[in-house]
């Protein structure tokens, strides 16, 4: 798997391990079913993440969110957009840790993912081999502005119009 954030490809500091084997690892991702046992043996400063399905409801995910450092939401296919909504709901619920999209996303979804609150994307290596780092980063620069308010992305058109009306920079 290949990890990518808004600055490009980078090494993944997290390792996926069963709860019984996390001792000595600074950052681990656990399966959802093992998160409670993992938290019980968590060492000081050890970062713990969880893998969750995109069918988990926000109500189910929120109690966990406050106890972990990373939530990795599975995208079973790039066309399955449920993860965008789940990510957005977790951010709204106050999750401030790392939000990761895991699966065969395409570069054309990168800006959308970040806007919905994701920090990074974990790609199958085969996808990463086809889709260059440049293509991913290019997606963040395509639109100068977007139309939606209240999403985590750069300036939106409605605010820009308001500024222009108020005599600010257009």
């Amino acid at each position: 798997m290949t990890l990518l954030d808004r600055h490009g490809f980078r090494p993944d500091p997290f390792r996926r391990l069963p709860a019984a084997e996390i001792a000595g690892h600074p950052a681990v991702i656990l399966p959802l079913a093992e998160v409670q046992s993992g938290l019980l043996v968590r060492a000081a400063g050890q970062r713990i993440g969880i893998d969750i399905a995109n069918t988990l409801t926000a109500e189910e995910a929120v109690p966990l969110a406050n106890q972990v450092d990373l939530i990795a939401i599975a995208f079973p296919g790039f066309a399955d957009g449920r993860g965008f909504t789940l990510g957005r709901r977790l951010r709204r619920a106050g999750f401030r840790g790392i939000l990761r999209a895991v699966g065969p996303l395409i570069p054309d979804q990168f800006a959308y993912a970040l806007a919905c609150g994701f920090d990074e994307v974990e790609l199958p290596d085969a996808v990463a081999a086809r889709q260059s780092e440049a293509a991913w980063l290019a997606d963040l620069a395509i639109y100068r502005h977007s139309y939606q308010r209240d999403y985590a992305r750069g300036q939106n058109i409605l605010e820009a119009r308001r500024e222009a009306r108020n005599g600010g920079a257009a």
Binding site: T57, F78, A79, D80, G81, R82, F84, T85, L86, R88, R89, R92, I106, D108, Q109, A111, Y112, A113, A115, C116, R130, Q131, S132, A135, A138, I142, Y143, R144, H145, S146, Y147, Q148, R149, D150, Y151, R153, I157, L158, A160, R161, R162, R165, A170
Partner: protein
């Protein structure tokens, strides 16, 4: 009409650049065909039977003369000098090459147009009443809110990979001419019964396709400033919970049907309760900015029905019939909206040549403030014509073959492109429409029969809206032959109804006779002034069924 500001203009340019790069990445193999498919669809590009098809958005069916001329040019340069207007007020070019698409999109951007989200599993082009802004029965013009939704839904980060396509229609009139009840979301502008404030009544879960359903009320009154937050809540519930295991069960209508409208409403309201509408809605100044573009043009103070107009009608029966049939009452005295039928007898419904587009553009500039509307019935409308100019307009249209006086009549047939073009189709639609129009061509006969909506789809996906035709025709394939299933009693208007199947499927050559038999039952049993669809409601389906089946002699009977 709406004009792009610098931000809208930059956005469509950025989109053209993005799609050009996506085509290059596909050609270079960086994107697989599966990955490229939703990207091309969200830019309106379909792979059809013989070529690529490009579907161009005409938001809420409003076009300027300049835009229509550009479409004429694109038709000449990249297609076979014609285009096809669809049941979603869009325009399709059927003979496009993929390599030309970026250039076409760039030509569209030159005139403030695009093909964004005319296909794909996203929020599609918003449709509205074709008489918006001029209809006498209007509470409020639906175009400003349609434009607001167009902008809000464009390249939405959360709702661009939905379970399935999502269609929104808006009307602001007493009579629903936008078929809002058969859309994923239908919005009706209504007045609050107590305060008189205008807001929206929201329908959800309507749709046609293989599981036709009439939308259900999810909110009786939504205050205007809550609209975008409410839409966001509704889309979020659908995106999270709509089925993804079966594309035929993925529309929101199935979710609403499976969990029930009460549960669906509760989930939407629970989501909505967590949102701050002010953070999502465009602010009042922005709404006002959009509304200003739709301010009525400077109408002159004119007498209604001026003498010269009445004299011309009296002296020219054909002109008189055209005005009576294709005219629509305008809210301003001395003006009229008028339908330009794209249903000439024997022609393909909704098709118009590049020369025809130029003629309409010229006439719109001369007689209708430079504006044209596209109807979901695949016709055009000039919305703002002075009555004392109608005769000149009619003569010019007649010379161009665009003055067919059949709006709303039995030959004003809706038909999808069908198996002549479409990769999904199971049977041809256009030849059936042509055969029926030819059969009922005599103007006096059409007048005698009165308003009757025939709608033809060439497959179960129902792009021709056959379920809501007074008479619906669905083309299927049965043992290698085209077979046409006839439904009766559908209605797309205020009394939205799904038609009932009359009997076994027919061969193409049997369809005109079968429709004749249905019309004969109506003519024999109607009460004075009673429309076809009202007779069907009063009489029930049985007498029609009996007549329909009486002369069917094939194996299935």
């Amino acid at each position: 009409m709406y004009r792009y500001d610098e931000f809208d203009a930059a956005f469509v340019r950025d989109r053209v650049a993005q799609f050009s790069a996506q085509v290059q990445r596909r050609l270079a193999g960086a994107l697989t065909e599966d990955e490229f498919k939703p990207l091309r669809l969200q830019n309106g590009v379909y792979l059809q039977l013989h070529a690529y098809m490009l579907r161009i958005a005409i938001p809420y069916g409003t076009l300027s003369a300049r835009q229509l001329r550009q479409l004429a040019l694109i038709g000449e340069r990249f297609d076979r000098s014609y285009g096809h207007f669809t049941t979603r007020q869009n325009l399709q070019f059927n003979w496009i090459q993929l390599k030309d698409v970026p250039e076409i999109l760039s030509l569209l951007a030159d005139v403030e147009m695009h093909a964004i989200q005319t296909s794909g599993n996203c929020i599609r082009n918003v449709t509205a009443d074709q008489f918006a802004g001029v209809a006498a029965d209007e509470i409020e013009d639906p175009r400003p809110v349609a434009e607001l939704i167009r902008q809000w839904s464009t390249a939405h980060p959360e709702f661009s990979f939905l379970p399935r396509k999502f269609k929104i229609a808006v009307t602001g009139a007493a009579e629903d001419r936008a078929a809002v009840a058969v859309h994923d979301i239908g919005l009706r502008i209504v007045r609050h019964p107590e305060t008189g404030e205008t807001g929206y009544a929201v329908l959800v879960g309507g749709g046609l396709g293989r599981t036709p359903m009439v939308g259900k009320w999810v909110r009786d009154f939504l205050p205007k400033p809550h609209l975008l937050a409410y839409l966001e809540a509704l889309m979020r519930v659908y995106n999270a919970e709509g089925r993804r295991d079966n594309k035929y069960k993925a529309r929101v209508k199935i979710l609403v049907h499976e969990i029930g409208i009460e549960a669906f409403r509760a989930r939407v309201e629970a989501e909505f309760a967590q949102l701050d509408p002010q953070r999502i809605q465009a602010d009042a100044a922005e709404v006002a900015r959009i509304e200003r573009y739709f301010a009525p043009p400077a109408y002159q103070v004119l007498p209604d029905n001026p003498p010269a107009f009445l004299r011309a009608r009296a002296a020219n029966p054909e002109f008189d019939r055209w005005v009576a049939q294709n005219g629509f009452p305008h809210k301003v005295p001395g003006y009229q909206a008028v339908t330009l039928s794209l249903k000439g007898i024997g022609e393909a419904p909704g098709d118009i040549s590049s020369a025809g587009m130029r003629l309409v553009a010229d006439l719109a500039e001369r007689h209708s403030q430079g504006e044209i509307r596209v109807t979901h019935a695949q016709n055009l409308v000039l919305p703002d014509v002075r009555q004392d100019e109608l005769f000149d307009l009619w003569q010019a249209l007649a010379a161009g073959g665009l003055a067919t006086a059949n709006a709303g009549l039995i030959t004003d047939i809706i038909a999808c492109p069908g198996l002549d073009y479409c990769a999904l189709a199971t049977a041809r639609s256009i030849p059936i429409a042509q055969a029926l129009a030819t059969r009922f061509a005599a103007p006096a006969r059409q007048q005698e029969i009165g308003p009757l909506a025939i709608k033809i789809s060439g497959c179960i996906n129902a792009c021709g809206h056959h379920h809501v035709g007074h008479i619906g025709i669905l083309g299927l394939e049965k043992r290698g032959e085209e077979s046409y299933q006839i439904t009766l009693g559908g209605d797309a208007g205020n009394a939205s109804t799904i038609g009932e199947i009359l009997g076994p499927g027919l061969g193409a050559d049997e369809v005109p006779d079968a429709i004749e038999r249905l019309v004969a039952v109506y003519l024999a049993h109607r009460q004075p002034g009673e429309l076809f669809v009202d007779s069907v409601r009063r009489l029930g389906i049985q007498p029609f069924k009996t007549a329909f089946n009486a002369e069917i002699r094939h194996d299935a009977a």
